[in-house]
């Protein structure tokens, strides 16, 4: 068997792939956080809970109503998006003028409540969600077996992230979004319905988290804690990438997933902390993050 630095290439590729899968989730979630922060000035601590709710909605859809994976991919993000819109209208919209801290505390409280509710009804052990038939099995690439579902997750999240980037950076709607992010009052004075855009942006951001949850359901166990475990790393990703850059969040998310995967191969003890080590180093060199703009 071929080896690199004494590591079998199969194992190396496997970890690399796992890293890419994790990185895909980091990218999708940190992208949503960045878009929300830009527009709403709120650090959305409920993001992990929305991701978890996405996974649970997929599980509940299948278990109670027989709604399969493919329908869930569409319906769950919509549902989570609507929940987000309701949260924005009833709570967040009153906080925009205040310090970041208020939004952070409110969304943190929401996250605890949502997680608490799911824990109350479903306990904290994971629930299984099987991979859809079409995506079971693996492809033999010669140097490794590539599990189809992992490849699918990476492809979907890349497509979604790049599409989001394209819409924001290259379209008319994106120009509205950028303008409203930079100077909301003036943008509204040009006749653009900024409050509506803010509401839909929050809905879209959490819908991305919900989609992440559906994608994650077959990959990891569906559990009320899956969100809070992930969100800590995602916040580190956001700090490393720097708030406010769309492409920055995507690239940082993916590369940190890969770095984590590689660390697992070469020095497994550090794999849970490597992201935070990177964060500390980046903060020392570039306090605004790799892609952030110094204020």
């Amino acid at each position: 068997m071929t080896e690199i630095f004494g590591i079998p290439i199969q194992a190396l590729m496997g970890q690399l792939m796992l890293g890419l899968v994790n990185g895909s989730f980091y990218a999708m979630l940190s992208l949503g956080l960045a878009v929300i922060f830009g527009m709403l000035n709120i650090i959305n601590f409920a993001h992990g809970a929305m991701y978890m709710a996405g996974a649970f909605f997929a599980w509940m859809g299948l278990t109670y109503w027989g709604i399969g994976y493919w329908w869930s991919l569409i319906l769950v993000p919509l549902t989570v998006g609507v929940v987000g819109v309701i949260i924005e209208r009833t709570m967040l919209q009153w906080l925009y003028q205040l310090d970041h801290l208020y939004g952070l505390l409110l969304t943190f409280g929401l996250a605890l409540m949502i997680e608490g509710a799911f824990r109350y009804f479903y306990g904290s052990s994971g629930l299984p969600y099987s991979i859809p038939e079409e995506l079971t099995g693996a492809i033999n690439l010669g140097f490794m077996f590539l599990p189809k579902y992992r490849a699918w997750v990476v492809v979907v999240s890349l497509v979604v992230c790049l599409a989001t980037w394209f819409v924001i950076e290259k379209t008319k709607l994106g120009a509205y979004l950028r303008a409203a992010t930079e100077n909301p009052r003036l943008t509204q004075a040009f006749g653009i319905n900024v409050p509506l855009m803010v509401m839909l942006t929050y809905g879209f951001g959490v819908a991305l988290a919900g989609l992440g949850g559906v994608l994650a359901a077959p990959a990891y166990a569906v559990s009320p804690l899956m969100g809070s475990n992930l969100i800590i790393v995602v916040f580190a990703v956001v700090v490393i990438g720097g708030m406010g850059s769309i492409m920055g969040s995507i690239l940082t998310g993916l590369s940190l997933g890969v770095i984590e995967g590689l660390t697992k191969v070469f020095y497994a003890e550090a794999s849970n902390t490597v992201v935070f080590v990177v964060m500390v180093i980046v903060l020392m060199i570039r306090p605004a993050g790799l892609f952030g703009k110094e204020k």
């Binding site: 950028r178 303008a179 100077n183 509204q188 040009f190 006749g191 653009i192 900024v194």
Partner: protein, 236 residues
């Protein structure tokens, strides 16, 4: 066009920024097709008057009627959509948008707006710089862009705040020509100015703003007799 119809009327307008009370009962009228100037010292409340019309200050009381519609209770974007083009004092060019994206940002409010071709004929520099980042433009170009941006929308009432400020004399002359062209086209203009020389030949009427109130109203034909008074209140 009937020159005596009111296009904008402010009655007893009070406006606040948080706790600070800035406008103390402003009363003024701008008729359709008129160019009216707000003169005053720095801090008199002219910018705040324009911002209050669009709902960009804090709390407001009194009455603001735009083309027959009371707008004091409306959200900002709905007020703008009645046909107001706003050129803010700080110019408000977006750095996250290219020059052309800045230009195309405000939605068209009226079919009478200028086409992109007409705009680029009027402001040839902007055509050259269309792909540049908005804030990379020179001060003069940014001011042109801020003006061009509101002309494309077909807004009939223009609120222009210190558009001549800090610009080279040639550009100021160019702006004066543009304002005259716009007057010919029937636009209604409320112009905030510090630069009396710039404003005097353009304005049909002038209001002097002091301490958040209208201190005087001067018609074009009274300009000569009131020149001394103006110099005194404006401190020029």
């Amino acid at each position: 066009m009937n020159a005596t119809t009111e296009y904008l009327r402010l009655r007893d307008l009070h406006a606040f920024y948080g706790e600070s009370h800035v406008l103390h009962g402003v009363n003024l009228v701008v008729n359709r097709g008129e160019c009216v100037t707000l003169l005053g010292r720095n801090g008199a409340g002219r910018t705040t008057t324009l911002r209050a019309i669009l709902g960009l200050t804090g709390r407001r009381t009194g009455s603001i009627v735009v083309n027959g519609t009371e707008v004091i209770g409306l959200p900002t974007h709905q007020i703008a959509r009645l046909g107001i083009g706003y050129c803010p004092e700080e110019r408000g060019i977006y750095s996250s948008l290219s020059c052309e994206e800045n230009l195309l940002l405000p939605p068209k409010l009226h079919s009478a707006g200028m086409s992109l071709d007409e705009i680029y004929t009027m402001f040839p520099n902007l055509a050259e710089r269309r792909h540049s980042q908005g804030t990379r433009l020179s001060g003069g170009e940014q001011q042109m862009l801020a003006m061009a941006r509101v002309l494309r929308t077909g807004a009939q009432l223009l609120l222009l705040d210190e558009i001549s400020e800090g610009l080279a004399p040639v550009i100021v002359q160019r702006l004066a020509q543009i304002i005259l062209q716009l007057k010919e086209k029937g636009f209604t203009i409320l112009l905030v100015e510090q630069n009396f020389r710039f404003a005097a030949p353009l304005a049909d009427r002038m209001y002097v703003v002091e301490h958040g109130q209208i201190a005087a109203e001067i018609h074009q034909n009274e300009l000569d007799e009131k020149r001394e008074f103006l110099q005194e209140v404006l401190g020029v």
